[in-house]
């Protein structure tokens, strides 16, 4: 009897903590959304009046617009470069001997856990030698290196769940390796490749530390400008920009989940 009481109390305690932690995670993430519609000229929460003034401020500022353009172009280029390179790398590693695979895989995944500041300082000094600092090309190359591990990991996990005999069957029936790869394997791991592409896009769009050192001038990214602005003051325009960034991230996340859902239904 006493034990059942104890269990109920433990269960209740667990539920309370669980819900509290979930709120701790989600509320601060979403709080900038109502804030961005505030009509006051300083930051307040909860907002007392409603307006679009901070969105107007964002969309009519040439500096913010130019930074947004830089970030979007960088994110799209990173996705376009990192997705095929990473997918090919995953395929190459999947087909090589376990020894090579494990070593190289460890090497290419490492950038995810190496402190970004080290990569940023390294890239900054490398670019100083080859004149890539403050260029869009420089940002794209650095972001590509950062996004590749995510593409490689997702595509490799897709390949692991894929029955490789199908490609072998196609080749034994006369298809060349390239044709078999393109028409048999790629369509089946499409979900992983798409997920990898989404991750690459978000990695580039949200990246702060490398952009802070390497981008600048006319090619400053939006995260660099936001970081510098936040160092000085709490400009409510940033609430509007943040809301836009959240919308992009959530759209991408929902996109990934929907593709996953459709794939499960297909099965």
């Amino acid at each position: 009897m006493e034990q059942i009481e104890q269990r109920k109390i433990d269960g209740l305690w667990l539920t309370v903590v669980g819900i509290a932690v979930l709120f701790f995670l989600i509320l601060p993430t979403l709080i900038v959304i109502p804030m961005s519609f505030s009509g006051a000229s300083f930051l307040e929460f909860p907002p007392t009046s409603f307006s679009f003034r901070w969105y107007t401020a964002y969309f009519t500022s040439p500096e913010w617009m130019s930074a947004t353009k830089t970030s979007l172009i960088a994110a799209i280029m990173t996705t376009v470069i990192a997705t095929p390179l990473g997918s090919l790398c995953a395929y190459g590693l999947h087909c090589s001997t376990p020894q090579i695979r494990n070593t190289v895989q460890f090497l290419v995944i490492m950038p995810i856990v190496v402190p970004v500041i080290l990569i940023a300082v390294g890239v900054f000094s490398l670019y100083a030698k080859v004149g890539l600092n403050y260029t869009l090309t420089g940002v794209v190359i650095a972001h590509t290196a950062l996004a590749l591990p995510f593409v490689i990991v997702t595509v490799m996990s897709g390949l692991r769940n894929y029955d490789f005999d199908q490609e072998l069957a196609a080749r034994s029936l006369g298809a060349s390796r390239a044709l078999a790869l393109w028409t048999i394997t790629v369509p089946q791991v499409k979900f992983s490749i798409q997920t990898g592409a989404f991750l690459a896009f978000i990695t580039s769009l949200d990246e702060v530390v490398i952009s802070m050192l390497v981008s600048g001038g006319d090619n400053a990214t939006i995260t660099r400008r936001m970081f510098n602005a936040l160092r000085d003051q709490l400009d409510p325009t940033i609430a509007a920009i943040s809301t836009c960034l959240i919308v992009v991230s959530v759209t991408v996340l929902v996109g990934v989940q929907l593709i996953g859902l459709r794939k499960n239904i297909d099965k």
Binding site: V116, L126, I202, L230, R231
Partner: protein, 300 residues
């Protein structure tokens, strides 16, 4: 007869050799597909880091020396940086465990579908920009922010607490950023635990708490360990949140490296700090790879 046999064997060895060399050639070609990505990562990520590391062993006159290292370990300023970095990283890791473990355990006891929906509460922050979340905390924690004003209207405090622009603010913000990194591997491990084992322990007369501590908890340790190491490594080298929420009063390693370069242009000292951070991270990565496997961390 025997000559035919010999010829046949000769022929097949030849064939086998041709096939083998073709296989080898194909293996090389296939590995070649990996090269563009591998080279990009090597040139952009690893090469500059190694080059910078080598800088740390030269003094200002360009001679080989350990001057940079003796300087960073003797200077009170740099020692303070190390102390603060460890203090924050350890606090953040402990708080993440205290918040994350009960949450994962609770989610595990819920039906799959409900838990899947609730995981959105973890994934949305995880995929939201660190800068956006830090900004939100700056607003929440400011002097006239909602936390101070509600605590004051509840009568808990009379004066607004100094929450942002100090150590407290940095830790709160960092816990929020790091928590999903603890939850994801831990939750994946817990989901994989066979709950029949817990039921068996209960059936054999164990108390619920005993079953938890002696059966469930030990089996969740690999995921917990992976999460702890991940949070700790990322905290050691974290830049954005302490730079903004610390308000210049809190200097962690990453900020010290950045300011040593951008403000003082002292590449020798900065690279020595970088080497220390790199070594700490490598030890952690090696440990984690042994226990969990680096690639499994990011699977969903």
């Amino acid at each position: 007869m025997s000559s035919v046999d010999a010829k046949f064997i000769d022929q097949s060895t030849q064939n086998i050799n041709i096939l083998k060399s073709e296989e080898r050639r194909e293996a090389v070609t296939i590995f070649g597909l990996s090269l563009p990505a591998v080279l990009t990562i090597l040139i952009v990520v690893f090469l500059p880091i190694f080059w910078l590391s080598s800088l740390s062993f030269y003094n200002a006159a360009g001679e080989l020396s350990m001057e940079n290292y003796t300087r960073i370990f003797n200077s009170a300023l740099y020692r303070r940086t190390f102390v603060v970095t460890f203090q924050i990283s350890i606090s953040v890791t402990i708080i993440c465990v205290l918040l994350g473990y009960p949450l994962c355990y609770w989610l595990c006891k819920l039906p799959d579908r409900t838990a899947g929906i609730l995981m959105v509460f973890v994934l949305v922050p995880f995929w939201t920009s660190v800068l956006v979340r830090t900004y939100a905390w700056l607003v929440l924690l400011q002097r006239n922010g909602i936390i101070n004003s509600s605590l004051m209207s509840l009568g808990v405090i009379d004066e607004p607490l100094q929450l942002a622009h100090n150590l407290t603010g940095s830790i709160i913000g960092m816990v929020h950023i790091m928590l999903p990194f603890l939850i994801l591997p831990l939750y994946a491990t817990m989901r994989g635990i066979d709950t029949d084992l817990v039921r068996a322990a209960l059936g054999l007369g164990s108390s619920p708490r005993g079953a938890f501590w002696r059966v469930f908890f030990p089996m969740s340790l690999p995921g917990l360990f992976a999460g702890i190491v991940l949070v700790f490594i990322l905290s050691l080298g974290f830049f954005v949140t302490p730079a903004l929420l610390g308000g210049g009063r809190v200097q962690m390693l990453a900020q010290r490296i950045e300011s040593t370069i951008t403000v003082y242009s002292n590449w020798g000292a900065a690279s020595a700090l970088g080497v220390v951070l790199l070594l700490l991270a490598l030890v952690m990565i090696w440990l984690m790879n042994r226990v969990f496997g680096l690639d499994k961390l990011f699977m969903r």
